[in-house]
């Protein structure tokens, strides 16, 4: 909370605030001291909040017209597209909104990886963020099943069958998930129920995410601890709100570009064919945001092994704050890690690309190399580079390098000083 105790001006405000200090919370959020050097990579938190609210609002509207039944779902989606007033717009915002949500969350995660935002004392923020990310994937997957097209049906079949790899109880678990002996109407029903629930769980976690953020305060591009409030900080409002608003407008232009000009480019045309349990489409691919994990799954020639590695690729992120041994947060001052960071970015992009290609020939080789590097980055590069790397001098404060024209060694602290 802010340094000074907030006292509402009006008598009514004071009366209410004494009973429920919402106005104090509002004052805290407004005055919240924020590092003055935050760049545009820090605007994605606000953008993600916008994405979540957009998905919830459009989703609630779609649920007013959608029918969660295997015989009716496909037709009801077409009904939304053709008959419901502005139904096409609302559905295209919702379906493209999922992609924009993931685009923003990936930028948000990679920003954290570059500037070391996951490190002490922000591990809990990072872990809550990963829980949000996991729920986002679950929500997106179940949402993709709802139109009950071919990709919906077979995507659901493949993903739920991942659980059949579990020894002994695997088959019982998949039958339990389905509520039938294959993906069928009971599966669609429960997916709809959970798809409606998960965004509100995410909303709750977002509150915790921001709460946990407001305890240590924002990390910043130079990654040093700062005094709050001080000449290194600005109040959240209006300085950060206006910057976030500008970034959000640019983001919305791109979003609108997809919605109005290429609303189907991120989807798959097979999903406009009604689900048919007798015919599998020739080429099954998940949505683009899951492709790197799909590539990891297919790179392993063993069923259980593939499933373990795929889930491992996500769960390894939870222990990242303890795998990274470097005391310096920002990659700006880590010349070696910085290079590995960009190799890792390329590796994930490559895995995404091969995930969309058939699992054979050169693609299989690339998927295997990419998978090995993905894990090596966390298990080998992160701990070893952190120990061996000679980091650049880090500045004393945000203001000083700016005022003196650069991070001069005289003004800079060495790593072994308190960071």
């Amino acid at each position: 909370m802010s340094e000074h105790e907030y006292v509402p001006k009006s008598k009514a405000g004071k009366w209410f605030n004494d009973r429920l200090p919402l106005l104090t919370l509002g004052a805290h959020l407004t005055d919240y001291p924020t590092p003055k050097n935050l760049n545009y990579w820090w605007t994605f938190g606000g953008i993600l909040t916008f994405c979540l609210i957009t998905q919830i609002v459009t989703g609630i509207v779609l649920a007013m017209h959608y029918v969660a039944h295997a015989d009716l779902a496909f037709a009801s989606v077409e009904h939304i597209m053709r008959d419901v007033n502005y139904g096409w717009l609302i559905r295209y915002i919702h379906s493209n909104g999922a992609s924009m949500f993931f685009l923003a969350v990936y930028i948000h995660i990679f920003r954290s990886l570059f500037y070391g935002s996951y490190k002490s004392p922000r591990e809990v923020i990072w872990i809550i963020g990963l829980m949000i990310y996991l729920l986002m994937m679950a929500a997106a997957f179940m949402g993709y099943v709802l139109p009950w097209g071919q990709m919906s049906f077979w995507g659901a079949t493949v993903i739920t069958n991942l659980f059949s790899a579990i020894p002994l109880v695997g088959d019982s678990i998949t039958t339990w998930l389905w509520g039938a002996y294959s993906v069928d109407n009971p599966t669609l029903n429960r997916f709809f129920s959970l798809h409606y629930l998960i965004p509100f769980l995410i909303l709750g976690l977002v509150v915790l995410h921001i709460w946990a953020l407001h305890v240590p305060g924002n990390n910043n591009p130079v990654g040093i601890d700062i005094k709050k409030p001080s000449k290194d900080t600005v109040p959240f409002h209006p300085y950060i709100t206006i910057k976030d608003a500008f970034a959000l407008l640019v983001f919305m232009i791109i979003f609108a570009g997809f919605v109005f000009f290429t609303p189907n480019v991120l989807g798959h045309s097979d999903n406009y064919i009604p689900a048919n349990p007798l015919v599998t489409p020739a080429h099954i691919v998940p949505e683009w945001y899951l492709l790197p994990f799909y590539a990891i799954l297919r790179s392993v020639p063993d069923k259980l092994g593939g499933v373990i590695l795929m889930f491992g690729a996500i769960f390894i992120l939870f222990v990242l704050p303890w795998l990274d041994t470097s005391k310096v947060r920002s990659a700006i001052f880590r010349p070696i890690y910085r290079q590995f960071y960009w190799i890792f970015v390329l590796d994930v992009l490559m895995l995404g690309y091969v995930g969309a290609m058939p699992a054979e020939g050169i693609y299989l080789v690339l998927a295997r190399v990419g998978t090995i590097y993905y894990f090596a980055h966390f298990i080998i590069v992160m701990p070893v580079v952190g120990l061996l790397e000679k980091t650049d001098p880090i500045p004393m404060s945000i203001s000083e390098p700016v005022l003196t024209g650069g991070a001069e060694p005289s003004l800079a602290r060495k790593v072994n000083d308190k960071v």
Binding site: T175, D184, R190, T280, R298, P301, D302, A359
Partner: protein, 173 residues
């Protein structure tokens, strides 16, 4: 301190009893919440299907739906049966004799779940390197007996419980 620890009094008994009864109560409520997701009676009622197989020509197959899953029913030619039986068991990732996958005396009829044992896609017939089925999802090859030969699938395609009602009809399930 140690004296107090050893002494079991009425309150300890009440705590333990309360927790135990509480745990039983919570379990009794949770189980219905979990079990409601298992296949319901309507799903279980679809457990058997009768199929007329009189019109299938040798070498041809049909696909029928049973419990929401495709069943392949193939009438194999004598060459295909011979091919399936010539395979050495050592060459199979999931060793199983062709004889064990068909009914005695009805060797031409292969009845199996048309579901890839990898991640549940429907394999395509007359495709792949082994003259049998090929799964387009992740590239598993099955032979003319539906046994896995190459690719990520761990086991042979499953043989469901079925019986011949008469020479022209089979009952699956």
């Amino acid at each position: 301190m140690s004296k107090e620890e050893k002494k079991v009094n009425r309150r300890d008994f009440l705590f333990t009893a309360s927790y135990t009864i509480g745990a039983v109560g919570v379990g009794a409520v949770i189980w219905p919440m979990i079990d409601q997701m298992n296949p319901d009676k309507a799903q279980q009622a679809l457990a058997t299907t009768e199929v007329d197989i009189s019109s299938i020509e040798p070498g041809k197959s049909i696909t029928v739906l049973w419990r929401g899953k495709p069943i392949f029913i193939k009438k194999r030619t004598s060459e295909e049966i011979a091919e399936a039986r010539a395979v050495k068991l050592d060459d199979l990732p999931d060793p199983q004799k062709d004889e064990d996958r068909v009914k005695d005396g009805k060797d031409e009829w292969l009845v199996m779940l048309g579901v890839c044992t990898h991640l549940g896609c429907v394999p395509l017939k007359d495709k792949g390197d082994f003259n049998g089925w090929f799964c387009p999802c992740h590239g598993s090859h099955y032979d003319v007996s539906g046994r896995i030969r190459k690719g990520p699938a761990p086991t042979n395609m499953e043989i469901p419980k079925f019986e011949f009602v008469d020479s022209n009809t089979i009952k699956i399930g």
